[in-house]
Symmetry: C2
Subunit: 320 residues, 2 copies
């Protein structure tokens, strides 16, 4: 992370956060932490209090990550009229409802009233840039900047341009997120769910299968992951892990020796039936309750944040 | 981890490690770190040198995790005759070739010559206890103790009894691995691949798909994971993550609101075609080379170990 550069590059730049829900509020905290002026555009009554509360709650985590959070709330304001909000904006980060028509209309207004240099990002996890931008004059201007919850903590931002986006706009987007201390990754093609959520769906199908088959409980499965794959994947991703799993022969050895067995398992896993039917939902909810019900969501979330910070801080200065 | 208790409980107990390959050598290092006497049973010429070298290489990591590694090599010996090796053993941890006939024969010998109190574990990732133990007089005595590579670092041990295994033997097995500072998880049913490797297969299918479709490169996909899902899953498993992802409504809210979309994605993912054909293998190997080829396997493995240790140490004292 490059907090010092970030503050020099972004200090007093203006970013409009459209939508003050959980994702928008978390972006707000991160932008403020980097010295930016943030205008939240959300028509909901009481949104100012909600967002301010979120920023206050996120302050210890951002401070632990090295940000100076004193007096950042003075850089936070609210403007319910989108045309006014974007009038002198340098960046827009959209976190509105996941409806294509809503987003398409919003970008028409943003394009009409924002300065020509303003970068447009959508946090959408489901509606691709080429779909959201259909009514824009310059549809290539809109880029997905999909964070991983909570955006103020987890480094990933999936940067997904539409096919019309010019290269220099993609580069400017990557530079923006890097200046914020994030780890932006550019996807080479639009695809439903992007990368991280597709991986998450794939693994979760097998998780639900194993619990529904009575092989393991919800809490024990979580424990399997935190004590093995999680540590491995917080350290190296799946490919590099298998590159090392191949011993001195690396990935070529892995592919030749372990792939046939893995392909056989894939065929078997594809045949399994997994649905969120009522019985499955009931089983999962009961096991969540018996595994985690003694602690409140807030307590569990705070413990998660502490561990995530420990991992981010503990690994970031270690060379690959 | 309970190093002090571990040393009191296990000090000078004798464990026979069958098979001195990478997994057997890593177990050896861990057992020695806990003050145990280790006898390696492996007919291969030069096995003593190989295993000693592995222990020496693992020493910095185990020291960093709080173990006293001075003069542990004095507790290491080698005995190529299995009957002699197990004669006064308290534990056996088997890491031989993954062939059912080989393992079945081996357990007949172990059962015949080991003391009645000796616990029998197999590190097998593929051959279930009920298959390995068919020729034993007391087949329930054999239990899978499947570690996650490298066993001396990663906490997970999947403990998988056969249907005949008595409860007290399962409890003794869990106690043994806990005394070693490991995190044993008991599976409730035998299943091919157990839990961790099934999850790994499921996610890797989608990884290979996304790279083969040109959505992302191997190295960028690894980066997506280490900067998002890896941190999340090293902290909390998939279920607890979604429990918190549901906000104040927790997992019940998640299931009702996000499950339909996830089920739609599952259907789509099941339809995709993914094979380790020659073109796919070539693509993956080329991208591994361009992404990681500048560093040797040994350098990459050392960097991995350092990060894994940082994560294990950084999170272990944080309450859930």
């Amino acid at each position: 992370m490059v907090m010092e550069n970030a503050n020099q590059t972004l200090s007093q730049k203006k970013v409009v956060v459209i939508g003050g829900g959980v994702i928008g509020a978390s972006w707000t905290a991160l932008f403020l932490a980097n010295g930016m002026r943030v205008v939240v555009n959300d028509p909901q009554a009481g949104i100012d209090k909600t967002v301010r509360n979120y920023v206050v709650q996120a302050t210890p985590a951002l401070t632990a990550l090295g940000h100076d959070m004193t007096s950042v709330l003075g850089n936070l304001s609210f403007e319910a009229d989108l045309a006014k909000a974007v009038a002198d904006a340098d960046f827009v980060q959209e976190n509105g409802p996941e409806r294509a028509d809503f987003k398409a209309a919003l970008w028409v207004t943003a394009e009409r009233f924002a300065p020509a240099h303003c970068l447009f990002f959508s946090s959408s996890s489901g509606i691709q840039a080429s779909v959201q931008s259909v009514q824009m004059k310059e549809p290539g201007r809109l880029i997905i900047g999909h964070p991983f919850n909570p955006p103020h903590l987890l480094p990933l931002v999936e940067v997904v341009p539409s096919p019309q986006t010019p290269r220099e706009l993609i580069d400017a987007s990557l530079a923006f997120y890097r200046a914020l201390g994030k780890h932006p990754l550019e996807l080479r093609k639009e695809i439903d769910g992007f990368v991280a959520n597709r991986l998450q769906s794939a693994i979760f199908r097998e998780c639900v299968y194993l619990v529904s088959q009575g092989v393991i409980t919800v809490a024990d499965l979580d424990s399997v992951v935190t004590n093995s794959l999680g540590i491995r994947w917080a350290t190296n991703g799946p490919f590099l892990s298998f590159h090392l799993g191949g011993g001195a022969g690396g990935f070529p050895h892995f592919v030749d020796h372990l792939a046939p067995g893995m392909e056989t398992r894939w065929s078997e896993q594809l045949k399994s039936t997994v649905h969120f039917d009522e019985a499955t939902k009931k089983l999962l909810v009961e096991q969540i309750e018996s595994g985690y019900g003694k602690q409140s969501i807030a307590e569990l979330a705070e413990a998660r944040d502490q561990k995530e910070i420990a991992i981010i801080k503990g690994t970031k200065n270690l060379s690959r």
